[in-house]
């Protein structure tokens, strides 16, 4: 990480907690002008009600005006190049273009579809626990459990060869690492599209039962190759980086809150509530996509002109006393369903039902297999300069 870069306020954390200064913004003025990682200014929204309102208003807060293509130090791209880079990336569109793409994908992520996946997720979790047990402690929970499980699940769901994981995990790492120069992150994103383009071409000649095969079969006429590659690229990235960090950071959170861990061990039926509370308390996605105002707006009494960047601080919103009493406490006994860890509005995480299913299978299986699970040292490494917060390593023993 370059020493000269400072972490934007909404990404600063002390282990599990958002920076105290971020909470102060929420409790005082509510909205503050900050310097984004791209070197331009943006408005940070911190209160639960305001974050929900902004995320729920795609008309006035647009995802489609992607400033990232016009950031200082980046080469000027032509409109055609920008269109190619955006194609199929649901997060870079507003309705109705967004709706068109999203509707093609929702059948694959229904609650019922996830239930059908559940036995396979159980098998994948069991295989990885078996491998950890065979090798014996210590293990790195990130590389032996948290990362491979969601990676394998999303590979099977999409139709991506799992043998390619070293390459795509490295690319994902570069795409999300905010300490890298923007050019390098953009290059990784392009490489991912090229790779996915090859898989799409293969699916076009021989569409399988997976998601890429379904898209080719059912929407092959409506989607350009660039759109197909963009959709695949986004789902692959989002499908493993997020759940992976919830699994590692969530396990550490439970180990460091032994009374909560004990409660979950004693009453395993609390797993759904525990998953929601961990999502709320950890808020591993700092902000999701930045938005651009399409008109003059007012948020928390602050006037924001049209054409300005707006960033929603999800950890601040999820620790807002307006959402939960005693919000800084991890409490799996509470009802935290309304949290915004998956966002809100039309861009609410498409994969949320999958992520929930993976967690409700993986956490209990891990805790059951290793009743003596503990930190083995050295200290787990928190990763900060990243689109997704989490752990880069976490040594455990049992």
């Amino acid at each position: 990480m370059s020493e000269s870069m400072t972490l934007p306020l909404h990404m600063r954390r002390a282990e599990f907690d958002p920076a105290a200064e971020l909470a102060a913004v929420r409790d005082e003025e509510g909205v503050r002008k900050v310097r984004t990682v791209f070197g331009v200014d943006g408005w940070l929204i911190t209160r639960f009600a305001d974050v929900r309102a902004v995320l729920g208003d795609a008309e006035r807060f647009s995802n489609a005006h992607q400033m990232v293509f016009r950031i200082p130090g980046m080469p000027q791209r032509t409109d055609e190049e920008i269109a190619e880079l955006r194609a199929g990336n649901l997060l870079a569109f507003d309705p109705p273009e967004h709706t068109r793409l999203r509707r093609m994908l929702t059948p694959e992520f229904t609650v019922r579809r996830m239930r059908r996946l559940e036995p396979r997720i159980h098998d994948i979790v069991t295989e990885h626990l078996d491998a950890m047990e065979r090798t014996g402690p210590p293990a790195d929970l990130v590389t032996d459990f948290a990362l491979p499980i969601p990676s394998l699940v999303i590979c099977e769901l999409l139709g991506v060869p799992y043998d390619d994981r070293a390459d795509f995990q490295r690319r994902s790492g570069r795409m999300l690492d905010l300490s890298l120069p923007p050019q390098e992150r953009a290059a990784a994103s392009l490489e991912s599209r090229v790779y996915m383009g090859e898989l799409v071409a293969r699916a076009k000649t021989d569409p399988g039962d997976d998601l890429l095969g379904m898209l080719v079969r059912e929407h092959g006429e409506d989607l350009t190759p660039a759109e197909l590659a963009g959709i695949g690229s986004l789902l692959l990235l989002a499908g493993h980086e997020t759940t992976s960090n919830m699994l590692s950071l969530g396990t550490l959170a439970l180990l460091r809150n032994p009374e909560q861990l004990e409660l979950l061990r004693k009453e395993p039926e609390r797993i759904d509530a525990a998953v929601e509370e961990l999502l709320r308390w950890l808020s591993i996605v700092h902000s999701g996509m930045t938005k651009v105002t399409t008109t003059d707006v007012e948020v928390a009494g602050q006037h924001i002109p049209a054409g300005e960047i707006v960033i929603c601080a999800l950890p601040a919103a999820n620790r807002d006393p307006a959402l939960a009493a005693d919000p800084d406490r991890l409490d799996i006994g509470r009802d935290s369903l309304g949290h915004v860890a998956f966002g809100h509005g039309v861009h609410h995480c498409l994969g949320a039902p999958l992520a929930r299913m993976e967690m409700r299978v993986a956490f209990p299986a891990l805790l059951q297999r290793f009743p003596g699970l503990r930190e083995a040292g050295p200290e787990p490494a928190f990763r900060s300069f990243n689109v997704v917060y989490g752990l880069s390593s976490f040594k455990v023993a049992w």
């Binding site: 729920g56 709706t99 999203r102 509707r103 929702t106 059948p107 694959e108 992520f109 229904t110 609650v111 019922r112 369903l337 309304g338 998956f342 966002g343 809100h344 509005g345 039309v346 609410h348 995480c349 498409l350 949320a352 039902p353 929930r356």
Partner: protein
């Protein structure tokens, strides 16, 4: 009668729905998803004991497709 037990009527706008499935997760007695993932209202006027669940589901809906019809 407490707020929770007052009967409610639910409206679902299938054009606005993004298929997030939050309603099914919250109250599968009241909501379902069709094969396209779009919301299906099983109980537009859920019995009083499910009124609280219905309210929770409406609040949880990310797209704003669900609303309560006040009498």
């Amino acid at each position: 009668m407490s707020e929770e037990q007052k009967p409610v009527r639910i409206r679902a706008d299938r054009d606005v729905c993004i298929g997030a499935g939050m309603c099914v997760m919250t109250a599968e007695q009241i909501f379902d998803q069709d094969d396209d993932g779009v919301v299906v209202l099983l109980e537009p006027e859920p019995p009083a004991e499910h009124a609280d669940l219905a309210r929770r589901a409406v609040r949880a809906c990310p797209s704003g497709a669900l609303s309560l019809v006040e009498d």
